[in-house]
């Protein structure tokens, strides 16, 4: 059992240990861990806690055995259209151009409702499973037998900010920890030289809601997503200050270390001090490791080609996917890649021309994602890696006016997919209605989807909790969430 978990699991309980968490008295690793273990709250400290610095980030056992130990989340920012990607709607084709007379209210802010609009993209069956995918994804469809489509997802909001935040944190309001933070909180980090939770945004900008999307909310900031740039200096403050050579950097660090050790000699029981000394050495190692990860010159020309680095359409996302491969190899626990950034057509938010929009964004991401997935199979990390794809909601089967090929937000029914470790691929779970507007079968709420992701990583969404403001808070909230069992291999 995870040592930060409650011994019993009522949603509103409290204990002395949890208030230590809440009051911040226990966040600096060794000190409080040691005290608490003496106090009998935790299992005996494991060796790595004593060697490594931080109990906060040290690897922890999952609640139960699971294949996937790391996760890649391809976040299609802006809301990709299910109808044009993974959810074929032959009935919609027949009603193309007709007025929509159904009961579902259409998206956001009184936009023009327009008329039913079929997808211009062709769907074909792929692989042994015959899973239908549109021709926006010629490369990804080679992995059709590994994809587990959820065609009946729904969320609680039609707005981008609250939608992104709900898809990432489970709540429509800001201030809660994101799923990457929860996973790192539950499992710790594997790589001690790199952040456990890496976020790479689109060059056009970040998602609406920005850092709220990878915030650690009320759990320690050590679990928040770290922005990682795909070129140059990937992390903030990673370069030596101007005029300081690597040799000089090391010398200054050595002086700092010597003085801090001297200071600690008469304060040897203050383990926070030791943790802080260690953090400087870790930072130094991180400087080296992070630079190394983004140095893609070590990769072969063939690899560059497979990830699309030579084509300017795919180059940026390709770089990110190739870096993701290297981060996964280094043991980074959770990586989130954003496709689309800024507003409207710079994201998947195809209000004006969903067709051109999706050709662009799918075109940028298809080949790189497929290459990453293939590499994970080839290097034997496939089973250990969970892939997640989707956005904050889907899009309507209606256009935004006659002859205007934009689609509005659809939070009633949309598609997400999972692949990789522990996932039963080659299938579509649930169904949207004939038009792809509402749900016809097997609704999957965002929280159910989250519970399934946690389960695939060996975490029980009911047990993974943090006591805060009088409640054992969870990613999936106080209401019951259900794992989508059909998705499990």
């Amino acid at each position: 059992m995870n040592r930060f978990m409650s011994p019993n699991q009522t949603p509103c309980r409290n204990s002395r240990r949890e208030f230590l968490w809440e009051t911040g008295a226990g966040f600096t690793g060794l000190a409080m861990l040691d005290l608490l273990s003496r106090d009998g709250f935790f299992d005996k400290l494991r060796a790595e806690d004593k060697e490594g610095l931080s109990g906060l980030l040290a690897p922890k056992k999952p609640h139960f055995e699971a294949k996937a130990s790391r996760c890649v989340f391809f976040f299609m920012n802006g809301g990709p259209s299910q109808i044009d990607t993974f959810d074929p709607k032959p009935v919609l084709d027949k009603h193309h151009g007709e007025e929509y007379k159904g009961e579902l209210e259409v998206g956001s802010n009184g936009r023009a409702i327009g008329y039913l609009m079929k997808s211009p993209f062709k769907f074909q069956k792929h692989g042994e499973s015959g899973l239908e995918i549109s021709d926006l994804y010629p490369h990804l469809s080679t992995h059709a037998d590994d994809l587990c489509l959820f065609r009946s997802c729904y969320t609680d909001t039609a707005a981008h900010a609250s939608g992104c935040i709900q898809m990432n944190t489970g709540k429509v309001g800001i201030g809660s920890p994101s799923i990457g933070s929860w996973v790192n909180y539950g499992l710790g980090t594997i790589s001690q030289d790199l952040p456990g939770y890496v976020v790479m945004t689109d060059p056009r900008g970040g998602p609406i809601g920005s850092a709220s999307n990878w915030s650690s909310g009320y759990i320690p900031a050590a679990y928040q997503g770290t922005m990682f740039r795909s070129s140059g200096t990937p992390l903030l403050n990673m370069e030596n200050p101007k005029g300081v050579t690597d040799r000089g950097q090391r010398k200054s660090l050595d002086l700092l270390g010597a003085l801090n050790q001297q200071h600690r000699r008469t304060r040897k029981f203050e383990s926070e001090l030791e943790a802080r000394i260690e953090s400087y050495e870790l930072a130094y190692r991180m400087q080296v490791a992070a630079k190394d990860v983004v140095d893609l010159s070590q990769e072969s020309a063939k690899t560059h080609e497979r990830y699309g680095l030579n084509d300017k359409i795919t180059a940026d996302f390709g770089r990110k996917c190739l870096i993701t491969k290297r981060l996964l190899e280094s043991g980074v626990r959770f990586i989130q890649l954003y496709s689309g950034g800024g507003h409207i057509e710079d994201t998947w938010d195809g209000h004006t021309d969903c067709i051109t929009n999706h050709k662009l964004h799918a075109g940028e991401t298809d080949k790189p994602m497929a290459a990453l997935m293939q590499d994970m199979k080839d290097i034997g990390l496939w089973d250990e890696t969970l892939f997640v794809w989707g956005g904050e909601f889907g899009r309507t089967p209606t256009s935004e006016g006659i002859g205007k090929p934009g689609r509005d937000h659809n939070w009633h029914a949309f598609t997400m997919w999972l692949a990789g470790g522990g996932v039963k691929g080659g299938q579509a779970i649930g169904a949207s209605d004939d038009l792809g507007f509402g749900i016809a079968d097997r609704p999957v709420h965002v929280s159910d989807f989250h519970a399934t992701i946690l389960h695939l990583m060996g975490l029980d969404h009911n047990l993974l909790s943090f006591y805060y403001q009088g409640l054992d808070q969870r990613l999936t909230g106080p209401d019951e969430a259900h794992i989508v069992e059909e998705a499990l291999a």
């Binding site: 019993n8 809440e22 009051t23 429509v172 992390l235 050579t245 953090s279 870790l282 403001q469």
Partner: protein, 750 residues
């Protein structure tokens, strides 16, 4: 109220409606009276819910250690174990502790010299008074308050809209603390400053408290969103002032506390009349003042408008005449608009004329006759006099309330706005009082409900208010509170380590202390308990590893504000300008990349402004300044009773490699060269004094001097051509300064 002890039972209580289809709410009959009747005497007997009774000050053996009753309570528990408190901290250490604790800034050389010259315990009592009288005290302690009231200057979410003029609330807090506004008055002002008989701009700005929370201007469901705003006010108020977790009772009775769903909605009914000044999605500010002040300003504006209208009619008439004469120099478009008879002008013409008012007046000026000139001058004089007599009210950011359309409040079944239950009346939690305050006592412009709540919270008889406050003050002086869960004094909260001491302090604070925070500080800081050293004792630590008995001074890292402000003070760059709109610290452009509006999200860096104290830093919910965020700034969306302390690598990168610290290291080095001259030993000694308030040890001095010598040599070699503008000696000294800012001792005062 019986609280379930078994898990199974508990789950049954928590999810009784699980089987229901979402969206289909079952018929629920909720009997409010029966709900209140669940509260038992047992519930009321919880220690924190009972009226505060002053306990006797205990007798102790070593009464020489007792400077005031605090020490007697602490020592009693130690003596029962046969333990001794840690020895007193040395004067230099205590001085640094006091300066950083009360003002968030280290003592200057002169201030250190004063401490060294006279280190009697009584002298420190004087020092405490002096520091409490300094303006820096309010800047330091206001930040503690801003943490618990979820202060930020934007709303969060997609547009992350500005909260216009919300900084006046921050300024209000700083001034209130510096003026030592009694805490009961402080409560009244924030909760009901607009409803007080003594209401004025200041107290109305104080009610901005309610409006500090996040706000989604594009909510998926407006009713639900409105309710979330009310929930935010309730959640914050119940934790900040009462230390109870009432928000847990939104959907069902609190599972572990004697707080019912009815209690929750009674409190919601208090806040429900508040409305949000808005124009479309934009949040609006308003002139802040009492009803009378607002009426005066309106009257004045009416009179000014009359004068302006006279001015305009003269100018327009003259301008028109000049057009007709052919002498007008105005644009054709304006001329055309003016030529149209007033009644026939379309809206564009009216707008144009209004927007070109000054140009028209300038043109008319050369055509005025003496009488007209006189009339204009008189009108302008009159306006000036009116403005002097009744100055503009400051604009503030707060909710408004009126007696029209006071909404009913329904209990919401399962907390969903879409399923209203019975109507509830305003009230406070049943367990906290046997007599409800009178909520049916409107003022001439509001329902008076918040005033009733504020009076109840701020009354001497409220069992929680003083206990909760005294605990917060204690926590900031000792690192942890007597109750370790400062926002939760319920049965699930931590039990106090020194219950009698807490009660004694609470009673003293209300009676002798007359709700004065400064008196409370002075009392706590005059105790020997506060003045102990952090000396370790292995056998005590084995038995009491968390230092619950307070056998030594606990160790705790400074908050990021005190770290940043100390760096600025030591480098000599601190800008002590107080109050006013916030400043924008340096944010690396890399950090803006993740933003949807990365081009325009953060104004250009102005170093002098940015060198103001950190409390004046703009708090933008979608872009927390990375330096602050990485060093454990509080969550800005909810009440944060205590900062988290983490030690992770990005902090080291920020402090060691980041631009801010390295730039300050350069200033610090220049300062050392100027103030200490060329000698390495003198420079290093001064650096230690300024940064750590002590002289370096012989070893430290040796290590540092050696470093300076070798690095100077290296820097000289690396720049053999002498291309760099600065000397190798200076560059080596900058490295020394950079290291000093990163020392553990800098962030962890003893």
């Amino acid at each position: 109220m019986k609280r379930s002890l078994s898990i199974t039972l508990c789950l049954l209580i928590s999810f009784p409606l699980l089987a229901e289809e979402p969206g289909k709410m079952p018929e629920v009959s909720i009997d409010l009276k029966a709900s209140d009747a669940k509260i038992t005497q047992d519930d009321r007997d919880h220690w924190a819910f009972k009226k505060v009774e002053r306990p006797d000050v205990p007798q102790v053996k070593n009464d020489r250690w007792v400077r005031n009753p605090i020490d007697a309570f602490i020592l009693q528990k130690l003596e029962r174990k046969g333990w001794k408190p840690a020895p007193a901290a040395v004067p230099g250490t205590l001085g640094r502790r006091l300066y950083l604790g009360l003002t968030g800034l280290p003592p200057t050389l002169k201030q250190q010299a004063a401490i060294d010259a006279n280190s009697d315990p009584e002298q420190f009592d004087h020092l405490v008074k002096k520091l409490l009288a300094s303006e820096a005290y309010g800047e330091r302690w206001a930040r503690h308050w801003l943490d618990i009231v979820r202060y930020a200057e934007t709303n969060g979410y997609e547009r992350d809209g500005m909260k216009p003029n919300v900084w006046r609330y921050r300024d209000y807090i700083i001034r209130a603390l510096n003026d030592d506004v009694p805490f009961n008055q402080f409560i009244l002002e924030q909760l009901a400053g607009d409803e007080l008989e003594t209401a004025d701009s200041r107290t109305v700005i104080a009610t901005g408290y309610y409006r500090l929370g996040p706000f989604d201007d594009e909510p998926a469901d407006f009713a639900e969103d409105r309710f979330d705003q009310l929930d935010d006010m309730l959640n914050t108020t119940s934790q900040v002032f009462l230390g109870i977790t009432l928000a847990c009772a939104r959907c069902h009775d609190h599972k572990f506390e004697a707080l019912t769903q009815h209690d929750y909605y009674k409190m919601i009914a208090i806040f429900n009349p508040l409305t949000r000044p808005q124009s479309g999605r934009s949040d609006l500010d308003l002139p802040a003042g009492s009803v009378e002040q607002l009426a005066n300003e309106q009257k004045r504006n009416g009179e000014i408008a009359k004068h302006n209208s006279n001015i305009d009619s003269i100018n327009l008439a003259v301008a028109l005449k000049r057009i007709q004469d052919g002498t007008s120099k105005l644009d054709d478009a304006i001329q055309k608009a003016l030529k149209t008879p007033a009644g026939d002008r379309d809206s564009d013409a009216v707008k144009l004329i209004a927007s070109k008012r000054n140009e028209i007046a300038a043109d008319a000026d050369s055509g005025l006759n003496d009488e007209q000139r006189d009339q204009l001058s008189q009108a302008k004089q009159a306006i000036k006099a009116l403005r002097e007599e009744t100055p503009d009210l400051p604009r503030g950011y707060f909710f408004t309330e009126s007696l029209e359309n006071v909404p009913e409040t329904n209990l919401l079944v399962r907390g969903k706005a879409s399923s209203p239950g019975p109507v509830v009346q305003p009230g406070v939690p049943t367990v906290l009082t046997s007599v409800q305050p009178d909520f049916d006592n409107p003022t001439n412009h509001t329902t008076g409900r918040r005033l009733a709540l504020a009076n109840w919270i701020a009354s001497d008889a409220n069992p929680l208010t003083a206990r909760v406050l005294v605990n917060r003050v204690w926590q900031h002086h000792f690192g942890v509170g007597i109750v370790r869960t400062p926002n939760d004094f319920g049965v699930m909260g931590a039990a106090p380590t020194h219950e009698a001491l807490l009660d004694w302090l609470a009673d003293w604070f209300v009676n002798e202390g007359e709700w004065s925070l400064k008196k409370l500080h002075a009392l706590i800081l005059s105790s020997n308990a506060y003045r102990m050293s952090s000396e370790w004792n292995e056998s005590y630590a084995a038995e009491d590893p968390e230092n619950n008995l307070l056998w030594r001074r606990p160790y705790r890292r400074l908050e990021v504000e005190a770290i940043r402000d100390s760096i600025l003070a030591v480098s000599g760059q601190i800008n002590r300008k107080m109050y006013g709109p916030s400043m924008y610290p340096y944010v690396p452009s890399d950090a803006l990349d993740n933003h949807a509006d990365k081009q325009k999200i953060w104004p250009a860096f102005n170093e002098e402004e940015a060198n103001r104290r950190t409390i004046y830093s703009y708090v933008k919910r979608s872009l927390i300044v990375p330096f602050l965020e990485v060093l454990d700034l509080c969550d800005t969306t909810k009440s944060t009773p205590q900062r988290i302390v983490t030690s992770v690598a990005p902090q080291a990168l920020t402090l060691f490699n980041g631009k801010f610290v390295n730039r300050q290291a350069e200033y610090f080095a220049k300062r050392l060269e100027t103030e200490a001259g060329d000698g390495s030993a003198a420079q290093i000694t001064l650096a230690f004094k300024l940064a750590l308030c002590r002289e370096p040890t012989a070893t430290e001095l040796q290590v540092m001097t050696d470093f300076l010598a070798t690095e100077t040599k290296k820097f000289r070699e690396e720049d053999a051509d002498g291309k760099l503008a600065t000397s190798p000696e200076y560059r080596a000294l900058v490295q020394i300064c950079r290291v000093i800012f990163n020392l553990n001792e800098f962030a962890y005062p003893d």
